[in-house]
């Protein structure tokens, strides 16, 4: 079985690098696909170019979603993911800097599976990514895809 991808939606290049590094350090082998704003994320998930008859991308195993994104923000992306039948059961982890209670509450209300605040200390960050990978990619039994 092919190892599914991890989709990282993040606009800060530094954070992208660090996340990639953290994943590597945690020995998570899944391919990391990075999109840099909300619109790209939606395009990746629901895209498919009708003109070129491009096929839909395969759904990732896990989506790491930042809250503050250019164009379409993280909460909006989450809402769209949950609203679509195909993606409604995808594990989405909010990976963000904000510790605002409002953000946390809204994320869970919209169906985020987990909310992780990126710590400043890189070691702690690595730790968090490790737990994340361990939990969502290894221990968690993914929901079966919905039948069309």
């Amino acid at each position: 079985m092919k190892i599914k991808d991890i989709l990282l939606v993040e606009d800060n290049p530094s954070d992208i690098g660090l996340t990639r590094r953290a994943l590597e350090k945690s020995h998570i082998a899944n391919k990391l696909i990075v999109v840099e704003d909300g619109q790209e994320a939606l395009d990746y998930l629901f895209g498919g170019d009708p003109l070129t008859d491009q096929k839909l991308n395969e759904l990732p195993a896990l989506i790491l979603l930042d809250l503050k994104l250019p164009k379409v923000d993280g909460l909006q992306v989450l809402r769209r993911i949950r609203a679509n039948e195909r993606t409604s059961r995808l594990p989405v982890v909010m990976l963000t800097t904000s510790s605002e209670e409002d953000d946390i509450a809204q994320s869970y209300d919209l169906g985020a599976n987990s909310y992780i605040r990126k710590p400043v200390d890189f070691n702690q960050f690595v730790e968090a990514i490790q737990y994340l990978g361990l939990y969502w990619l290894v221990m968690n039994e993914p929901a079966p895809p919905k039948k069309r």
Partner: protein, 1130 residues
């Protein structure tokens, strides 16, 4: 012209003169009043316009200040300058661009600002919000060099935007560089849409008006340019202009620097009243104006009103004078009618005497018409009817016609006043009757003969006796005795030689014999005047035809009476007078009746006079004094006084007495018990009918009064109306037998009038007292059904500031303040017109324009049909109360306004803070994480390329970064605390503290720390926040005891100055109390970071939470001796 006509004409002239005087007076008063009002009104209208203009100008100045302060926010904002600098240096800096857009966007959201642009030094638009707005207007571009030179925010005045022709004002703000702050690096242009706030503010006129408006102008070259939209012309802003030479226009006057209230023609050519003034610190001039026609409308109304009042006053005066004149006329005719009535009565009396006399009498007019009495008819055997149709010639014996005609001729010619002769009449049955006929002639004022009055005595028998000489003495005696007339014959010397029984009876003698014996001399015993007999003899001798005299006779008892005398001289054959026969008829009764009639008429006239005098008097004391004085004087009494019955009905109290005596008796305070036996006054009161005592000496009960020594007779009548006895009118005379029953009737009539007057006076006094009481307390007005004021009291005049004369006859609307809606007044009128009482509060306007409030009750007075015919309004002044109420409402409104403004400001601040925190949490932490992460990566990946020192540096970078991270987190928490909603509940602080302590111990399990937490401490508060407080305070205690082997931390409660206080005490490092002031400030630290790490935010957080709970936090400490933190909660 008669005397009466003349008098009447004179009176009329007086009335007409008074009328014209009044007319002149009213006109003058009206003129003065109107001029006065006109003056007041002018200054009022001008004051109003000036006040509005001043408010507007202040508003405009404030508006400009606000705009410049908006500008200053960006102008002196280093953060913003830094952003601009960064962006202008590097337009590709996405982050700077985004944040600039956010700043500009923030500005643009204000409704007044329709776009915000960032310009570079070349005036090119570099950023704008909203996106994609048209390029900068050249008008603004012109101003840029000026702004760059002054380096101050500048307002570019009204201009038309090229792109769409919209009118805008532009705010140009220079942006200075961050380092030096004195070099301009760019500009921000903010476009203000005047339609949003400015135009509506200018156009808004605070009072209802059909023509008033405010306009804003500025000088534009040799023109004045209108800047705002006008009320009467479309699209006038920045279009309409007038040359400066057009100085009739207020706008031009304003632009030429004139200020104050002026009159002129506005842009429509209408004459207007305007207040013009410059708007300080601006090129603007403000014109607040109103059409003169509107401003002066109330003046015209006032003019008509004044005409109305004067007209009405003249009418009322004319009508009043006419009424008085008419009353006089009525009185005059009334007097005439009464005189005629008296005359008629007198005539009746005469007719009675004429008709029923036993002596034949006739009145013969020269027309031949003849009136006769019954006696004459009987004498001649005709009926009255038959006699009326006869002429004297027809009944006269033919032989005597000539004789009669001669006698009449002497009378007509005036030779004689009376004639007496003997003649014969022919009876109906043809027999002849001898008569002794006496005639007098009556003439009119021109001395023309009117008629003859004749007395006819049948002397047939005497004649027969004389002629026949055979009449027996007996026969004569019978005639003599039976005659109803006193007949006597006397000698020349005065001895009575024969009389008849009628004479004896008439003169009070027992018999004719008694008379003959008793009368020694006729001159003294028969005539009252001893010279009278001689005079009569002389007169008859000189004039044999004169036979009838009226005399006063003396009776046997000395009393007198009046009688007529017919004398007949009896001569001897030689023609010498030997004796005189006299026939006496007692006419005293007739005289007495005549006199009584006259007296009665006089007395009734007096009664009428007294009644008239007193009925107009509503003061009881004065009234009774008039009664006493007038009665005494007019009836010629010795004394008159009035007693009034007291309320208990048991005592009569002297209420008034005539003259000085009356005054003295009043001073004595005379009272008579109604039950007193021997009192005429008391008896009259008890019996309720008049009593006469005609000779007090005969009255054993009479009590003499030393003040009235001459009283001889007394009469008292009750003063009574219906069943009610008011008192007694007592009059006294100084002669015996002064009073007769007739007097009782007269005085009773007077007493009845007095009673009515007293009743009226008492009613009036009662009503007056009630009215007085009401007037003292209330504002009273009475209107008729149409709302015309017919009465106002002093208080009403006082509050309304009108004179009474100005109000009477006016509509109640004279006081209308136009405060109440029409439906309010309609409701009022409907209520009272239906006969119901209306109560409410009315806002009225006084004459001088001041407004006042009255709490009013309007009571409709109903007539017999139940329809209101008058409305009585009773009010109390509640202006002060209303003012206080309004003041409170105003204060409340202001307070609410302030609270809501403050709340709105706070909300904005909170929002800004929130946005700030949000960006901090995201944007500040992300780079830190990068620094930390990449440092770590450097260390991991290039460890072999770094020496020990390099590695240490990297560790240092990481630890600083992480410290910064903590700082940010703590700050975020602190700011969140301020915003977080508090959920208050009962919190067990002991449990919370225990939890915190456990966690601290877990962090450093090897440290021996003695936690001593008092159990069961509870407080009202937010559990989450209180936990943060305890975590900070206990955490601090834990931290600062870190270097002690016997660390001891205590949490408990104590009482200080009667208040429950929580405390956390430790024996740690403590601090110097000298610095305790800074203890709770953000980033304030007491220790070196190498000794005790920390961010310096914890205690600030604690303080904020405690304050949010309404509590207090403070500390006591000593260096190296530990610290105690106290806090209260609410």
């Amino acid at each position: 012209m008669s005397h009466y006509d003349k008098k009447e004409k004179r009176t009329l002239t007086v009335y007409v003169s008074i009328f014209f005087l009044l007319v002149t007076g009213f006109a003058a008063a009206g003129y003065v009043s109107y001029r006065n009002f006109e003056g007041q009104f002018h200054s009022q209208a001008e004051y109003q316009i000036s006040a509005i203009a001043e408010i507007k100008v202040n508003g405009l100045v404030n508006w400009r200040k606000e705009r410049l302060s908006d500008a200053n926010f960006l102008y002196q904002n280093p953060a913003f300058s830094a952003l601009v600098e960064r962006y202008l240096e590097n337009p590709d800096n996405v982050e700077a661009r985004a944040r600039l857009l956010a700043w500009l966007g923030n500005y643009q959201v204000y409704d007044q600002y329709d776009w915000v642009q960032l310009l570079d030094m070349q005036g090119q638009t570099r950023l704008s919000s909203p996106d994609g707005i048209p390029p900068l207007s050249p008008i603004i571009a012109e101003h840029i060099p000026e702004v760059l030179q002054t380096e101050q925010p500048t307002l570019v005045d009204f201009y038309r935007r090229d792109s769409d022709g919209q009118i805008r004002i532009c705010l140009l703000i220079p942006i200075m560089d961050v380092q030096t702050g004195n070099q301009t690096i760019g500009l921000v242009a903010i476009s203000i849409d005047p339609q949003v706030y400015l135009y509506p503010y200018i156009q808004n006129w605070p009072i209802n008006s059909t023509s008033a408006e405010t306009l804003l102008v500025r000088r534009d070259g040799q023109d004045v340019l209108f800047l705002n939209e006008l009320r009467f012309i479309q699209d006038a802003a920045l279009t309409l202009r007038y040359p400066l030479t057009d100085t009739d226009t207020p706008a031009v006057k304003a632009a030429l620097g004139q200020t104050g209230v002026v009159e002129g023609l506005d842009y429509r050519g209408e004459p207007v009243l305007a207040d013009i003034r410059a708007v300080p610190d601006s090129p603007w001039f403000l014109v607040a104006k109103m059409d003169i026609a509107e401003a002066h409308a109330p003046l015209m109304a006032r003019l008509w009103q004044t005409f109305g009042i004067i007209g009405m006053a003249i009418f009322v005066a004319g009508a009043g004078l006419a009424l008085v004149w008419r009353q006089q006329r009525i009185f005059f005719y009334h007097t005439q009618v009464e005189a005629a009535e008296a005359l008629r009565e007198s005539e009746d009396k005469f007719k009675y005497i004429f008709d029923y006399s036993v002596v034949g009498k006739s009145i013969t007019h020269f027309s031949g018409e003849m009136h006769v009495n019954k006696a004459l008819c009987d004498m001649l055997g005709y009926s009255l009817q038959e006699m009326q149709e006869k002429k004297w010639q027809e009944i006269t014996h033919p032989d005597d016609i000539e004789l009669t005609q001669n006698a009449i001729g002497t009378l007509i010619s005036g030779e004689k006043e009376s004639a007496r002769f003997v003649k014969r009449f022919v009876r109906k049955n043809g027999s002849i009757v001898w008569v002794d006929l006496s005639s007098v002639i009556r003439r009119d004022q021109q001395n023309q003969p009117l008629y003859l009055i004749s007395v006819v005595i049948d002397i047939t028998e005497r004649k027969q006796a004389e002629n026949a000489l055979c009449e027996s003495e007996e026969k004569y005696r019978r005639l003599f005795d039976n005659a109803p007339l006193g007949i006597f014959q006397s000698t020349l010397e005065g001895e009575v030689i024969s009389t008849n029984s009628a004479f004896a009876l008439m003169f009070g003698y027992d018999s004719p014999e008694d008379a003959m014996q008793s009368i020694k001399n006729v001159s003294t015993d028969v005539f009252a005047d001893p010279n009278r007999r001689a005079e009569i003899i002389r007169l008859t001798t000189e004039n044999p035809d004169l036979r009838t005299f009226e005399n006063v006779y003396r009776r046997k008892d000395g009393s007198t009476f009046i009688g007529s005398l017919n004398t007949m001289p009896i001569g001897d054959p030689d023609g010498h007078l030997v004796r005189i026969e006299g026939i006496v008829e007692d006419i005293s009764e007739r005289k007495r009746m005549q006199e009584m009639l006259v007296k009665r008429a006089q007395q009734l006239a007096i009664v009428a006079d007294v009644s008239a005098a007193i009925s107009a008097n509503l003061d009881q004391a004065q009234l009774l004094q008039s009664v006493a004085d007038l009665s005494k004087e007019r009836f010629d009494f010795y004394h008159a006084h009035v007693y009034l019955l007291n309320e208990a009905g048991d005592t009569l109290i002297l209420a008034a007495g005539a003259g000085e005596v009356g005054r003295q008796m009043m001073l004595q305070g005379r009272q008579i018990s109604i039950h007193r036996e021997h009192s005429l006054v008391a008896r009259t009161a008890r019996e309720r009918k008049g009593v006469i005592v005609n000779d007090i000496r005969q009255e054993p009960d009479f009590l003499p009064n030393s003040l009235l020594p001459d009283t001889r007779a007394e009469m008292a009548v009750p003063i009574i109306v219906g069943e009610t006895l008011f008192g007694v009118l007592d009059v006294q005379a100084n002669q015996v037998n002064r009073f007769i029953e007739e007097d009782v009737r007269i005085m009773t009539t007077l007493a009845a009038q007095i009673a009515v007057a007293v009743q009226n006076a008492r009613l009036f006094a009662d009503v007056n007292f009630q009215k007085y009481a009401l007037d003292q307390h209330s504002i009273v007005a009475i209107t008729d059904v149409t709302g015309k004021i017919v009465y106002v009291n002093d208080k009403f005049c006082q509050i309304s500031k009108y004179f009474r004369a100005e109000l009477i006859g006016q509509d109640h609307r004279i006081l209308n303040s136009e405060y109440h809606p029409k439906v309010f007044m309609r409701d009022l009128w409907v209520t009272i017109a239906n006969g119901k009482v209306w109560e409410g509060e009315i806002h009225d306007r006084a004459k001088d324009g001041t407004l006042y409030w009255v709490d009013t009750t309007i009571v409709p007075l109903l007539n017999e049909q139940g329809q209101p015919h008058k409305y009585v309004a009773i009010s109390a002044d509640i202006t002060e109360r209303k003012r206080a109420e309004a003041e409170i409402l105003k204060l409340n409104a202001e307070l609410e306004q302030r609270v809501s403004e403050r709340t709105a400001q706070l909300e904005i601040t909170n929002k800004e803070l929130e946005a700030f925190s949000y960006s901090v949490s995201h944007d500040l932490r992300a780079p830190l994480r990068g620094i930390d992460g990449w440092s770590q990566a450097l260390l991991e990946d290039y460890r072999d390329k770094l020496d020990k020192q390099g590695q240490q540096y990297i560790d240092r970078v990481r630890s600083e970064t992480q410290h910064m991270g903590h700082l940010i987190d703590d700050l975020l928490q602190l700011s969140r605390l301020t915003r977080a909603e508090m959920v208050k509940e009962q919190v067990d602080l002991s449990v919370l503290a225990q939890t915190v302590a456990e966690r601290l111990k877990q962090d450093e399990p090897l440290r021996p720390v003695d936690f001593n937490i008092q159990a069961g401490l509870t407080a009202e508060g937010d559990a989450h926040l209180l936990k943060i407080v305890l975590a900070n305070l206990l955490g601090n205690a834990f931290k600062f005891t870190g270097k002690r082997a016997d660390a001891r931390i205590e949490f408990g409660e104590t009482e200080l100055e009667g208040q429950h206080v929580f405390f956390i005490r430790d024996n740690g490092a403590g601090f110097d109390m000298a610095y305790s002031q800074q203890l709770f400030g953000v980033f304030q630290r007491m220790h070196k970071i190498t000794d005790f790490p920390g961010t310096g935010v914890g205690l600030a957080t604690v303080q904020r939470i405690i304050h949010r709970h309404g509590g207090r936090v403070w500390a006591e400490a000593e260096l190296e001796r530990g610290a105690t933190f106290y806090f209260t909660l609410g």
